[in-house]
C-alpha cells in the first residue's frame, strides 16, 4: 500500500489500494457509515412522529379469523400489528403481511385512512395471496443478504451494496448485488458458513427484529446514503417514480438500512432456515460487482435436511436474473414504492376460504 504522507488523513482507501474517493474523515468503514445512517433514520422518524399533533381516529374493517370486526384505530400511528394486538396472539405471531384494501402492506406500517384489513401468513391456499407473501419473504431475504455483507468484512474493506432485482421464485435463490471492490471473491464452504452464521446470529437473537418502514424525502435519502455512490445515482430515479415525486421508501432491520419499494415480512423471527448459498462475480456497466445468493424458509414451513440440501444446491447455481444496469422489471427495490406485483382483485369466482379455528 503506497504511503500518501500528509494526505493519508484525507484518503479513504481499501485493502486493494484503490484511491478513488476522498472525504474529510480519516478512513471510511461500514461500521461508521452504518452509525451515521442510523442516526439520520432515527432523527427523521422522530421528526415525522412529531408532525402528528392531534390523534385522529380511523375505522378499520377487519375480515377473517377469528371474526369480522370493526376496529377504531389512530391515523398515522396504528399499524396492522396493533390491530392484531387487539384480536389474537395467533394473528400477531404468524402474520407475515397485511392486505389493506386488497394491497400488500407491511405489518408495521401505519394506517392512514379508513380501510379493509386482512392478514396473510405463509400457508395461504390461494395462489395470488401466497405469491404475495412469497415475494415479500424473498425481498426480505435479499435485504438480509445486504445486512450480512455490510458487517461481514474487516474494517479495511469498504463494501457498497448496489441493489437487488425483483424477487423471482423460479430462479431458485434471492440475490443482492454488491460492490466488494475485489476482482474475484468466491468464498469456500467454510466462508459461506461464516456468512450464514452472521445471519443466524441476528435471526436467533432473543428479541425478534422488526422491519421498520419510513418514507423520506429524496434530500434526506441523499444524506443517508451519501457514502454509497450507487444509491446516490438511484435516488433521483426512485423519487421521480413515487406518487409525490419526491419520496423514497427506506427499511431498517436491527441497524441495517436500505432502500426498497415493496413490502417486507413483519419481523426477522419469521425466518426459519437460512443460508448464503453462493457468491458469483458479475460484470456490469458499473464494473465488477459480486452477486450474493441466498435461500431461506419461514419457520412455519417444515422441511427435512435432505430436501433443504437439495434446494441449497439449486440456490448455489449462478442466478441469471437481470444484472444491475439492465432494463428493470416492474418490481425492484430501485423502481419505486407504488408498484403492485399482482392484481389485487381476486380472480372471479374465487373467494377467501374459511380460516381454520385452531
Amino acid at each position: 500500500m503506497t504511503s500518501v504522507g500528509s494526505s493519508r488523513a484525507l484518503t479513504r482507501y481499501a485493502a486493494n489500494g484503490s484511491h478513488k474517493w476522498f472525504s474529510s474523515q480519516s478512513c471510511l468503514t461500514n461500521t461508521e457509515v452504518r452509525k451515521q445512517r442510523n442516526k439520520a433514520f432515527v432523527a427523521e422518524k422522530k421528526r415525522q412522529m412529531s408532525l402528528i399533533t392531534r390523534v385522529e381516529k380511523i375505522k378499520v374493517e377487519f375480515k377473517g379469523h377469528p371474526e369480522d370486526t370493526t376496529l377504531i384505530m389512530n391515523r398515522g400511528l396504528s399499524t396492522p400489528y396493533n390491530c392484531a394486538m387487539h384480536m389474537e396472539e395467533l394473528l400477531r405471531n404468524r402474520s407475515a403481511l397485511a392486505l389493506v384494501d386488497g394491497r400488500p402492506w407491511d405489518m408495521h406500517r401505519p394506517l392512514v385512512k379508513d380501510c379493509e384489513l386482512q392478514f396473510l401468513h405463509f400457508q395461504e391456499q390461494i395462489p395470488y395471496l401466497s405469491n404475495m407473501v412469497n415475494k415479500a419473504f424473498w425481498r426480505s431475504g435479499s435485504f438480509l443478504l445486504g445486512y450480512i455483507m455490510d458487517r461481514a468484512f474487516k474494517d479495511q474493506y469498504y463494501v457498497e451494496p448496489h441493489s437487488w432485482p425483483a424477487p423471482d421464485i423460479r430462479s431458485g435463490s434471492f440475490i443482492c448485488d454488491i460492490d466488494l471492490k475485489m476482482d474475484n471473491w468466491t468464498p469456500n464452504e467454510e466462508e459461506r458458513n461464516c456468512l450464514t452464521r452472521i445471519g443466524y446470529n441476528m435471526l436467533l437473537s432473543t428479541s425478534s427484529k422488526v422491519f421498520e418502514r419510513l418514507e423520506v424525502d429524496a434530500s434526506v435519502a441523499q444524506d443517508m446514503f451519501a457514502d454509497n455512490r450507487f444509491k446516490l445515482e438511484q435516488i433521483p430515479d426512485i423519487a421521480a417514480k413515487s406518487k409525490s415525486q419526491n419520496t423514497v421508501t427506506v427499511y431498517k432491520l436491527d441497524d441495517h438500512i436500505d432502500i426498497s419499494g415493496g413490502p417486507m415480512i413483519a419481523n426477522s423471527g419469521l425466518v426459519g432456515l437460512f443460508a448464503v448459498s453462493a457468491v458469483h462475480p458479475i460484470d456490469t456497466k458499473f464494473g465488477r460487482l459480486h452477486r450474493v445468493q441466498g435461500l431461506a424458509l419461514p419457520t412455519q414451513l417444515k422441511i427435512r435436511s435432505w430436501t433443504w440440501k437439495l434446494l441449497l444446491e439449486r440456490a448455489a447455481k449462478y442466478n441469471a436474473t437481470r444484472l444491475p444496469g439492465e432494463v428493470p422489471s416492474s418490481d425492484d427495490n430501485i423502481s419505486g414504492s407504488q408498484t403492485i406485483e399482482q392484481p389485487f382483485l381476486p380472480p372471479s369466482g374465487a373467494s377467501r376460504p374459511q380460516e381454520a379455528t385452531t
Binding site: L301, K302, I303, R304, W306, L310
Partner: protein, 330 residues
C-alpha cells in the same frame, strides 16, 4: 447370561428424523421422489479407482452379509431324507466403511480383536428424507443410499472391501458352512418354567397355588442368601445368539437367497441375521479346496457369463429334474 440392550448408545448419531412431516403438494412430493432416484442412480463421483484385491489364504477372515430371515421350508436329499432349511435373503447390502486395524486398536482399547479391521455393512436402502442430517453423513463416503440397518464385521487386512461395493448371495457358495448370528425372539417377561425349563408343580392332586413356581431359592446354612445368578423369572429373549456351522444347501441368485441348514436360525421372521464364514475348525475352508470369492463376489467379473438362477448342492433333490429314465432296448 448376557443381555446387551437393544437401545442406541448416547454417542451414536441420532438416526430418524421424527419432526413434523413435510407439508408438500403432490407435485412437489413426486418431484422429490424423482430427485431421490436421480441422485442415487448415478455412481458417486467421489469414488476413487477400484481397490486392489488380495489373494485368499486359510487365515483370511472375509466380510459377512446382513440377511433377513424370510422363512423355513423343507428340502429333500436324493436318498429321500427330509430336513428343514431357513431362507436368508441378502437385504440390499452395501459396504459402508472400512476402519483399518491400527485405528481400531486405538479406539477400542482392550479389544479382543486388535488385529482385525472393521467393515461396516448396511442393509435395506431407505428414503433419505426419513433420517437426520447426521445419519445421512455416514453414507457420503460410500456414495450409497442411506440404509435402515448397519452392522460390523471383523475382517483381516487382506479381506478389505471398498466402501460402496454391493454384496451378493454369491459371496458364499453352495456347500459352504456359515455362522448365523441374530437377536432371538423377544418373549418378554416370562416365568421360570418357560424361561429356565423348571418343572414347577403338579397340575392337580391337591397342589395349592404351586403350578408354575420356582420353589426353593437356595440351600440355607453356609449359602446364607440367594446367590447372584439364581434362575428367576425375568425378561426372556432378544439376545444375540450365534448358530455355528450351518451348511448352505442352495442359493437363489435372482432373489439373493441362501438356503441354510435347519429351522433354528435365531430370531423372528423378517429379522436381520448376520451371516459369516464359519469358525468351526472342521467345517472351515481348507487351503486345498476351492477358494472363495475374495474379498467378495463382484458382478462385473461375471458380466459375460450366464449365472444360473438356482444353484443346488449335489445331493439335493430337485423337483424339476427329470424322473427315472428307461432307455428303450432295441
Amino acid at each position: 447370561m448376557t443381555h446387551s440392550p437393544n437401545t442406541p448408545a448416547p454417542w451414536w448419531t441420532k438416526k430418524l428424523d421424527t419432526s413434523a412431516p413435510e407439508d408438500l403438494t403432490s407435485d412437489n412430493e413426486a418431484f422429490l421422489q424423482d430427485m431421490v432416484e436421480e441422485k442415487y442412480s448415478v455412481d458417486s463421483p467421489l469414488k476413487e479407482g477400484p481397490w486392489e484385491r488380495a489373494d485368499w489364504t486359510p487365515r483370511s477372515v472375509r466380510c459377512g452379509l446382513i440377511c433377513r430371515k424370510i422363512g423355513v421350508i423343507p428340502q429333500w436329499l436324493n436318498n429321500g431324507k427330509k430336513f428343514y432349511t431357513t431362507l436368508l435373503q441378502v437385504a440390499d447390502n452395501h459396504v459402508i466403511r472400512y476402519t483399518p486395524p491400527e485405528i481400531n486398536r486405538e479406539r477400542r482399547r482392550g479389544s479382543r480383536t486388535p488385529n482385525f479391521g472393521i467393515q461396516v455393512v448396511g442393509a435395506d436402502s431407505a428414503d433419505p428424507r426419513l433420517f437426520k442430517a447426521e445419519y445421512l453423513g455416514l453414507f457420503q463416503e460410500a456414495g450409497v443410499m442411506p440404509k435402515h440397518h448397519l452392522s460390523r464385521f471383523f475382517v483381516t487386512r487382506d479381506a478389505v472391501i471398498q466402501p460402496g461395493t454391493q454384496l451378493n448371495a454369491m459371496h458364499f457358495s453352495v456347500g459352504d458352512f456359515v455362522d448365523c448370528q441374530a437377536r432371538t425372539i423377544d418373549h418378554g417377561y416370562q416365568g421360570v418354567v418357560k424361561k429356565w425349563g423348571m418343572k414347577g408343580g403338579p397340575a392337580s392332586h391337591g397342589a395349592t397355588k404351586f403350578h408354575r413356581k420356582m420353589g426353593a431359592t437356595g440351600g440355607g446354612g453356609n449359602m446364607a442368601r440367594i446367590w447372584p445368578g439364581k434362575k428367576m423369572p425375568g425378561h426372556m429373549g432378544n439376545e444375540w445368539r450365534i448358530l455355528k456351522g450351518l451348511k448352505i444347501w442352495r442359493i437363489n441368485t435372482k432373489y439373493n437367497v441362501l438356503y441354510v441348514h435347519g429351522p433354528c436360525v435365531p430370531g423372528p421372521h423378517h429379522c436381520y441375521v448376520r451371516v459369516m464364514d464359519t469358525i468351526l475348525p472342521l467345517r472351515k475352508r481348507k487351503g486345498d479346496g476351492p477358494k472363495p470369492p475374495f474379498p467378495t463376489w463382484f458382478a462385473d467379473d461375471y458380466k459375460d457369463q450366464e449365472i444360473p438362477e438356482e444353484i443346488f448342492d449335489e445331493s439335493l433333490h430337485r423337483f424339476t429334474a427329470s424322473s427315472i429314465e428307461f432307455e428303450e432296448e432295441k
